[in-house]
């Protein structure tokens, strides 16, 4: 059953020392089986999207939905289908697995800002944070044969900018996307 809520204004701190003020005008779409609630505005420059995710099994659908939200603005590019998908998926998975320790009562908040130059994505968990500088480089010869450490590496390789909050429980990813289509196109 779908439901709608009125818009709300919010201030968000976006990575590092830069403050970003967002105005959210959104329609809440309630998921019939209660898997997660996703907030989709009309897809346009300056628009926002929000997803609240609790479990690993929700990631694929949520990331697909976010891509569908961005595609009308930036076009269907490989950078959106691949770079964005990988970077955001890895950030969300890390947040659920390590940040929230797979606690189903905790949420991962994924906020998108669709800017002229591209997309800003902020992924925030309810964990204690960590020090990303301590994550080893998985491409070093001594690490290639290990099964871990590739998530953050892939985020850094495929997104144009990756910044962790001081606490380490929030990461902001930036992806430059130059292709744009009709900005008044609506996402589904």
């Amino acid at each position: 059953m779908d439901s709608a809520e009125l818009s709300q204004s919010a201030e968000h701190r976006v990575a590092g020392n830069r403050e970003q003020h967002l105005r959210e005008e959104a329609v809440v779409i309630g998921r019939p089986v209660g898997a997660h609630y996703s907030v989709y505005p009309a897809a346009q420059r300056g628009g926002t999207a929000l997803a609240l995710i609790r479990s690993i099994c929700e990631i694929e659908e949520a990331v697909e939905d976010l891509i569908h939200c961005c595609a009308p603005v930036y076009g269907d590019s490989r950078r959106l289908r691949f770079n964005f998908r990988v970077g955001v998926t890895e950030a969300i998975a890390n947040a659920i697995l390590y940040g929230n320790e797979e606690d189903p009562t905790k949420e991962v908040r994924v906020e998108l800002l669709l800017e002229d130059e591209g997309i800003l994505v902020q992924v925030t968990d309810e964990g204690r944070g960590f020090d990303p500088a301590k994550v080893p480089d998985p491409t070093l010869p001594e690490n290639v044969g290990k099964s871990a450490y590739r998530g953050i590496f892939l985020m850094r390789e495929l997104m144009d900018d990756v910044r962790f909050s001081e606490e380490g429980n929030s990461v902001t990813l930036a992806l430059r996307l130059a292709e744009k289509r009709d900005p008044s196109a609506q996402c589904r």
Binding site: T89, P138, V144
Partner: protein, 110 residues
């Protein structure tokens, strides 16, 4: 079903359908370890119908590679699309695995 398993001569072929991610990596691990216990030693993991592998999926492949090697077996990966090939190259896993263009080539190399 995310994984299809079949025999091709002496080889065990595991086809990944859709995605190999943190959500189903354990299932792949269980399948291959069970085959190892039953005596299988030659494996091909085929990605012809795979559109996405995440870092956890890459990790389980690394882990399985080690297990198979310890059992004196062999592992090939086959049919990676451009995106998957990029992931393996970025992470330098193309230096760890023997990657073949298609399943036939992989089977012929075993």
């Amino acid at each position: 079903m995310p994984f299809s398993v079949r025999r091709a001569g002496e080889a065990t072929v595991v086809e990944v359908n859709g995605q190999l991610t943190v959500g189903n990596r354990q299932e792949l691990k269980d399948i291959v370890l069970e085959c190892l216990e039953e005596g299988a030693r030659s494996f091909v993991v085929d990605f012809a119908r795979t559109d996405y592998v995440d870092s956890s999926g890459l990790g389980v492949l690394v882990s399985l590679s080690k297990k198979i090697r310890e059992a004196e077996g062999e592992l090939r990966l086959s049919s990676l699309n451009m995106d998957l090939q990029t992931l393996f190259e970025l992470t330098k896993l193309d230096t760890l695995f023997q990657i073949c263009g298609n399943l036939e080539e992989a089977l012929a190399s075993l």
